[in-house]
Symmetry: C2
Subunit: 529 residues, 2 copies
């Protein structure tokens, strides 16, 4: 299995767009023409040689360097697909232990080399792009993927931090446990990367964000090792784990991570329903999240996303029949799809399902059974493959996300979608945008916006379009006081907007704290702040 | 209503020991003789004059200074009761706004004055004792107690940080909401103090520790104002709130705090049951906490605490009958009392109760109905008044607490209790000690140890006894890798043990981060690190 060097996932896996999807996009955005992709060999031929002094753990093969040079953001894709790739790392090391990581940090510090920790390479905000003039060493943790300890009494599992989602769940499943952390990048992203970027899984409602799952670990920093003992709770001063969470490789390299795991649930259920409109959907979701039910997911699509999902679902006759039925039930053109999941014992799941049905009906909704939930569940990690197919159809797709208190959520989601739709009007291009509220909390929710636009022939123009839309949306988020990222981190792309959230004093503090770990500034410079 | 200047609570409230309690203590520890208490006027006469330059907001009345000089730790009591009080603050200010707090910080910085923020004065680890040679100003926040904003859509309430527990719940109750944070100090302690010391309420299983409730706020620091916007979640870098949580007044003064509140539950239920022994109790509690039930409390007494509770309960005939019944049901001399609470809607509470009963029976336990739970509920804030009565009977009582993963909990609790019992054997004094697991998590629990010993006539000897026991217990906690505090903070008393938990690099980081807020070190010096 070989991963695409300039797109998502395995080379052998192609996920064609559903029937009618290209037709729909043609109607919405105009016909697409894919830009010409560069060939791997041609790009490799342009790479300058690496500038690192010899080290037995460092490889400098051009293809390995290129394959560790970028993440999965749209700007990353534009560079790789066009072949106009800026700086790539000068070498890559694949340490197998904390000892080797320490050795490599010492080597980097001695020679003034910047270090970029690399997990699964799935960053969508520019965490992996080399910044600055110093030579760059990528520390790829893919060989550090073992379960080191499972404390079955305490439900605590300690892994090497480079373990990917599937390897982690596989090792836990052998012992009857699960972590339950399923970001969309699950198949490649790593435990250390989840911690370093404050990741949130699709079932975080039940299992918790990585902040809650991260119980302790080991961080190798240029100034020494920070051990974070796994404690259920502590009142002994500030929690240093919270400085490491979201540090995006600037403090050091996580080599071991202890997580809170649980017994695999006896029963899982994913289902769907429609609410008559977004306000009713929000009210239902608020009520459900404020009860303490064994729900693991509540995901509410806005009317635009609901319509897009139905239009793209294929089965057009079935959908037409469904639409008629729903209209008869009073759920019409503004309807919103709500997906939900429950996990636990049989009676817990039954209890949760009954409460969902009660609440949904109370807000005029219609239950749909398990079909939509199952469909979502089985394709949840395949969705990113559609990015490949869309690109090849001449369309760019990107997403952005934030979180705000409930009192601002509906207005912000609406303004983001409407503004993005008009965001390229100055050049006569249309944008198709829609959103869902994917992670819900008692006090607010995340807003996840997807937007599609046509690709131009020139990479500069594609980047310009993306920048225009990104800036437009980010400014709206800042105006509403939302976070610039609910689940992807800051990297380079969100850096300009961080001061609005943290304040100047807050940013000074983060920078100051990072300097205490990394006096010479070798760790992932240019990211976060 | 006047608060005791040298003991717990209101002067008018006396809670006599239950019948037979003194008799029991006499048997266990020998007869007690209370040391002679100093008179307030005599202590005031010994106070040196304050050394602060004039400021219109600063008062220097000796009684006010004395009343803001200490917390409620046993060493604090020993000083106050004996009248041999060390340093007291040179002045006290009662600001009414963030503006006044900023003014006072400017004044302190200009004149090299140390500042001790003061909430309800209930610290039990020495947070309030003046340390160092600089003049000391106490910033008492008691006049900052208003609800500033209630966002009913988002269930977010913003208070001035000096609001006490009862004032906070009263203002929320008027609007139909609750925070649900009930530390034993609830009647006096303040929201700002809860955040600054990482407090945990008795119902944190349901409502969450203060870390989860604290959504945002405003910190006035010597370097400026830090605003922490209330966000349901964020992946935008390290969470600065987590630096403020547990900062114990060293970073600045919290003036506004936004908390996650909820609708008052329709139903609350507190009940009790017995488990045959501690292992069965732990197994039952682990199973319950790992189900996602609407429980708000699970509190498991060890056999010693259970026996003490029964012996102290009064009603000796009823208790004898109960013991007989329990023995017949197979729950004998090693029995452990489990108190539990549930809150939510009627069906949620019923569901939780049924599950508790199922699990308890499955581990050979006996349900007791609501009586023990109700009893606990109605006296939960009165218990500290027993400290007064015990002192007056000639006995000192103190508590200590930690948290560890489940795999270490039973062994650590046992070793703490056994070692404390023998902790004064060198001077031929006995100690009565017992414990409960009061806050439970999926991965571990807190251990709360109570210990009683006889008071000597001399304050130095009482302090020495306390220090000997405290050091003994703290070393055991460190050896097990437990946190030095689960819910009370570090202050001065736990400072020597913090490096074991945070590591030297970790401590440097905390100190470095604090310096970024407070370059001249005026904020609560000598506490935490």
């Amino acid at each position: 299995m070989v991963r695409r060097w300039n797109g998502w996932g395995e080379e052998e896996i192609n996920l064609p767009l559903p029937a009618g999807a290209l037709e729909l996009l043609k109607q919405l955005l105009g016909p697409g023409t894919p830009p010409l992709d560069a060939r791997l060999d041609d790009v490799l031929a342009t790479l300058p040689p690496g500038r690192l002094p010899h080290h037995s753990l460092v490889v400098t093969d051009p293809e390995i360097r290129l394959r560790h040079s970028r993440g999965q953001s749209l700007p990353d894709w534009i560079e790789l697909r066009s072949g106009r790739v800026g700086r790539v790392p000068d070498g890559v090391a694949f340490p197998v232990s904390s000892d080797e990581v320490r050795q490599l940090l010492g080597y980097a510090q001695k020679h003034g080399i910047s270090v970029i920790p690399y997990g699964g390479g799935t960053s969508v905000v520019g965490h992996l792009t080399p910044v600055g003039d110093a030579p760059v060493l990528v520390l790829a943790l893919s060989r550090m993927d073992r379960l080191l300890d499972l404390d079955e009494q305490s439900h605590l599992a300690t892994f090497q931090a480079g373990v990917s989602g599937p390897r982690l769940e596989e090792q836990l499943a052998e012992r009857g446990y699960t972590l339950g952390h399923y970001p969309q990048s699950f198949e490649y992203s790593t435990l250390g990367g989840w911690v370093a970027t404050r990741s949130s899984g699709q079932q975080s409602l039940g299992y918790g964000r990585i902040e809650r799952l991260f119980a302790g670990g080991r961080l190798e920093t240029p100034c020494g090792t920070l051990f974070m003992p796994p404690l259920p709770a502590s009142a002994a001063g500030p929690d240093l784990k919270e400085l490491v969470l979201g540090s995006e490789g600037r403090c050091g390299v996580l080599t071991e991570v202890t997580v809170r795991v649980r017994r695999r649930p006896g029963r899982e259920y994913f289902g769907g329903c429609f609410l008559p409109d977004l306000d009713a959907g929000v009210a239902a979701v608020q009520e459900l999240v404020r009860q303490r039910l064994p729900l693991v997911m509540l995901r509410l699509s806005d009317p635009q996303e609901t319509a897009t999902t139905l239009a793209m679902a294929g089965h057009s006759r079935l959908i037409r029949w469904l639409e008629k039925y729903l209209t008869w039930r009073g759920v019409g053109g503004n309807k919103c799809l709500l997906l939900f999941g429950a996990a636990g014992s049989e009676p817990e799941v039954d209890f949760a399902r009954r409460r969902v049905a009660q609440v949904v009906r109370c807000y005029g909704g219609v239950m749909l059974g398990s079909k939509p939930g199952q469909q979502w569940y089985h394709t949840r990690f395949q969705v990113p493959y559609l990015r490949n197919s869309l690109w090849e159809g001449g369309y760019a797709v990107d997403t952005l996300e934030t979180a705000v208190p409930w009192s601002k959520a509906v207005a912000l989601a609406g303004e983001l979608v409407q503004s993005l739709q008009q965001g390229l009007a100055d050049i006569g291009e249309r944008v198709h945008a829609y959103s869902h509220l994917s992670h819900v909390y008692t006090d607010g929710c995340s807003i996840y916006v997807t937007y599609l636009f046509r690709l131009a022939a020139q990479p500069e123009e594609n980047l310009r379009r993306w920048q225009q839309l990104k800036e437009l949306a980010s400014r709206i988020i800042v105006r509403y006081g939302g976070t610039i990222s609910h689940q992807h981190g800051v990297g380079t792309d969100h850096k300009p907007y961080l001061a609005a959230e943290k304040g100047e004093l807050g940013l000074e503090l983060i920078a100051g704290a990072v300097r205490l770990f990394d006096r010479h500034g070798i760790m992932n410079p240019g990211k976060l702040f």
